[in-house]
Symmetry: C2
Subunit: 696 residues, 2 copies
Amino acid sequence: LIYSYLYRGAGWLVISLVGLATGFCAGIIDIGASWMSDIKLGICVNAFWLNQEECCWVQNNTAFGEEGCSEWYTWSEVFGHSTIDAGSYILNYIFFVMLSVIMAFLAVIFVRAFAPYACGSGIPEIKTILSGFIIRGYFGAWTLVIKSITMVLAVASGLSLGKEGPLVHVACCCGNLFAYLFPKYHQNEAKKREILSAASAAGVSVAFGAPIGGVLFSLEEVSYYFPLKTLWRSFFCALVAASVLRWINPFGTDHLVMFYVEYNTPWSFYELVPFSVLGILGGLYGVLFIKLNLWWCNYRKSSNLKRHPVLEVVVLALITAIISYPNPYTRQSSSRLIATLFKECGPEDDIDLCDYKRNFTRVDQSIYPTAEAGPGVTNALWQLSLALVVKAALTVFTFGIKVPAGLFIPSIAVGAIAGRIAGVVMEQVAFNNPSWFDSCSATGKCVTAGLYAMVGAAACLGGVTRMTVSLVVIMFELTGGLVYIVPLMVAVVISKWVGDAFTKGGIYDGHIELNDYPYLDSKREFIHNTLAADVMRPRRGSPELTTFTQDNMTVEDIEMLVSETTFNAFPVVVSKESKRLVGLVYRKELVQALKKSRNKYNAVSQSKVCFTNEMPLHPSPDSPSPINLLYIVDQSPFQVTDQTPANTVVEIFSKLGLRTCLVTQNGTLHGIITKKDVLGHIGALESIHPESMLFQ
Amino acid sequence: LIYSYLYRGAGWLVISLVGLATGFCAGIIDIGASWMSDIKLGICVNAFWLNQEECCWVQNNTAFGEEGCSEWYTWSEVFGHSTIDAGSYILNYIFFVMLSVIMAFLAVIFVRAFAPYACGSGIPEIKTILSGFIIRGYFGAWTLVIKSITMVLAVASGLSLGKEGPLVHVACCCGNLFAYLFPKYHQNEAKKREILSAASAAGVSVAFGAPIGGVLFSLEEVSYYFPLKTLWRSFFCALVAASVLRWINPFGTDHLVMFYVEYNTPWSFYELVPFSVLGILGGLYGVLFIKLNLWWCNYRKSSNLKRHPVLEVVVLALITAIISYPNPYTRQSSSRLIATLFKECGPEDDIDLCDYKRNFTRVDQSIYPTAEAGPGVTNALWQLSLALVVKAALTVFTFGIKVPAGLFIPSIAVGAIAGRIAGVVMEQVAFNNPSWFDSCSATGKCVTAGLYAMVGAAACLGGVTRMTVSLVVIMFELTGGLVYIVPLMVAVVISKWVGDAFTKGGIYDGHIELNDYPYLDSKREFIHNTLAADVMRPRRGSPELTTFTQDNMTVEDIEMLVSETTFNAFPVVVSKESKRLVGLVYRKELVQALKKSRNKYNAVSQSKVCFTNEMPLHPSPDSPSPINLLYIVDQSPFQVTDQTPANTVVEIFSKLGLRTCLVTQNGTLHGIITKKDVLGHIGALESIHPESMLFQ
């Protein structure tokens, strides 16, 4: 009884372990990335293991500005240039570029040498694996270690990439490793996939500090089959992972989330107009990004570039570093940039973006009235516009290189920049024409520029990934802006509409197609009026299907058929004439069984093979004794009739996760449908009727 | 082309209309219920259409306490007893009881007279309908109108019930009505169900002001089949409904949510211990509630009580009103009670519960340090304990009576009371032993009693309904307490574990079983090692299956077979000997086709009937001409082999929503499996191995 309880409790144990491990990995990666990012700018002289913030914090110098505190030395200061002049600027610049390139080089070298699967975001592959395809070693221990290390390096190198997608991959590696320990999960691919679904939820949960968002991400974007039990376990796994991360507390704040905003000023209904515009822009950005990125990835595959992945990464890191350093908004890490953009300006902020002509009489005021922008704001807007173009362009070339590279943070950054610019512009319009907007009169606060940045971020990320509910949940878990559900929803809805009008799937679907992974989208509808007979092989007029008969073939016959064809499975029928279906034999098992028969049971080429319960009578005593292979026959293959509508066939394949299905008519076997046939059929029909995908 | 776009856009149009209508209904219901609840206590003399809060608010008398403002007259004041003495108390008491009973009486009379389907919560029925069963008229226009009216009356009467479940039903009625306008949805039950899924999301969205929670509720609790497209539309529908409700603004606050809390003081890790205890208590409460409520409903069904539903409601209302009035925590409406319990005590609160020995030096302080409780708090705790027992007991008898009755608000109220009591106790323990808890020293604030109320509410509701993710999301959307995800998750997880250890489903599943609705839970796993052959009819040893042959039966033969049996479908085979399957004929269509043949085509009893493409040759010119009924044969019935594992069969039925499936072996027909057979098989196995449901 105890064993049986243990057996059943194994699921919860695995889930807990996965959550713990994921939270732990994420904590280490966060701390590492933050330290390595800052090392490009300088070093904490007395305690080199601290990052800039911690270094200054130890000194109780909490109000560190852009130039840092006394204990934090920029590289030029380390080498004696204590004055701020052209020389020290150039020295810092060189160090920044050099360290960036070295980190990127190390990252790509590690990936190349130890774990080629560690590159990229991993989400397209995880989607494919969860749909039933197997990529051996994709979730190996080695991948886990290397991806964690190179992720830190890649993020720190300043390349336009994020650590969120890769964290999902790392979480899945943890899931796979722990599943390995329990025979219940090790032996059953379907059960293992449930663990992986839960692990992806944990990955997003720690990536953004958004446990609910993680569960929804797993449901909406990653998982193929998501029963309620998995929902429930994902939820638990995400909870454990988030708790561990909070306990490690990598950001030094007590908040679980990265970009927590303090304001909750209400928004007005007329603001839905600019939010919708941001939604449209986000959708268009998504379409453009997907098209350009796929074009570039195709170019990479077909050109010489694919033979020099290391060089590509190094050159990209060099260009990125050179362009990024002069602009303060691209110099800092993307996460910090986003946090700055989401925030509202308070009295303690002395950056350009907050250069408003106001006098702060009361420091403890919670709402600051809208004020006229000073010259610093204009300056900041120009720098932001430049940063927008640079980020957007670099991300196109970065997503798909051979280092761990997530897409979330860059997309959010692009959206946040665009949104913040729109927000500041709106703010000034409202300030100069307060009579246009009635809400201004009450508090003097008309437009929250940080909210526009959030909405823009949601719109861009929505355009790129086409997530809906999970995105809104992630956004408000990320920022704590629960009162802004409606603006976020509006932007995401519009962004998805605009995006879907131009390209039919998100960037992950694009990459799945690019890499030719066999992925059958269970979430899409098939609306054509074809029949199973149109999908099956053999096609009308083609030679007949290769079948085995139940009891009158010899070992030699079968071996010949197997070697002549490349099919993975062969139907067994009662006789060539009646063609009544007995079952399905898989090539792999057949070959093994025949070998075993030859070696162990002295079967010879002339031995009869039968796939039936009743052994045939020995025809004569001197003929070799027949062998029975019924035990390798799958006696319950799925079957449909040839009159079954193709959309039912697609439904069966996607909902039940089938790979093969037999087609019968009046009890006789007519053909076979494999997953590949279904995908081919859908592809063929879609290329004929592309407009049918609209409005799905 | 325009028509085709319109056809495709119909989905979005329907969804928008449903959202609009739902938001509108919810707004009216909220305003009505709030006014009617207050009318039991008194009236606004100069503007009787205002409720207590609005009445006082118009007078700029915002700080109204329990006794109300000058414009608000209690009933005793209306009749001249302006002093507060025993006489006026009794007069008020009598009015309270009388009005309660009248409202309850009207509610039950309306339901009885006009729309019997309007009673109850509706969620068990909606679950069943979304799983494919049809209850005619359940979503009729009449039901919509009556349910909206009686909901207001029932809530206002003070019975221990909520308006959340019924609002989901109202939303589904709206969904059904608008779906009726579009042929695309009217004619297709599956597509209509997608609209209903979205409508339920809108219902919860307006019930709690929780759009995301609504979508998840629809996914987790209500819907049977929830593809990504539906997720996406539900999201939109919930958004529209929530926006309309916010525009109507029934609560007079600008917040969408009812129980918005202002604090976000952090919680400490050691507090997870009391939260877990609340989780355990919530789970136990859920189990007890489900058992007692089902026992009472069974008793109602089997006793004389079922013939006197009006009397039952009136007596229950009478008892409820008599018990409720003396205790201030049961006298006010449940929603207001919950709002009070979730809040923290501020300087403006002068109720007993907030009688702490502290002096408020700074009014604008955001965190008030923990203080010693005064005698008022002790008093309040006793009253709350009493209220807890009363609410819990009354809810058991209330859920299931013949008025619209939701379960959410009463469960939340019970949990909030228990949680608040635990919170206050913890607070005083912490105050007296500050050294035990390290967080107290920093801010002087150790324990947030309102947070305990929230956690308790989540635990109780979780125990009763067994919702997980959706419940957590609803709770934090409801309260705005995004920082409290982890405590809420912990309580819900533990509550569900405890609950599942005792009873296997939530209250809704209990009521589905109670009413014998044919509901096959797609979200549960089937883990027994039986085969399709064990599920199918005919059983081994029973007489053979009734089948038709393809081409040698006469009209008379078929009519006889049809009248002799009660099957809904008959398989057609090639011949009695070969038993090779041709297709399936449904009784309804067969009877119609035969009648038509007799009337129109002069078929006689001796006419041959064939179900094949090739008409048999006329045997002789004087025999009647044969009729071909191939057009009524379903030529693509689902088939499985008899060796198929039963869990695969269950999977096929639940995932594909089948009703009938044929069983073949080697191409010959062996039996038939209907949804009823599957449910019977599961039921039989579960009663043998009840422990197998544990740890699911």
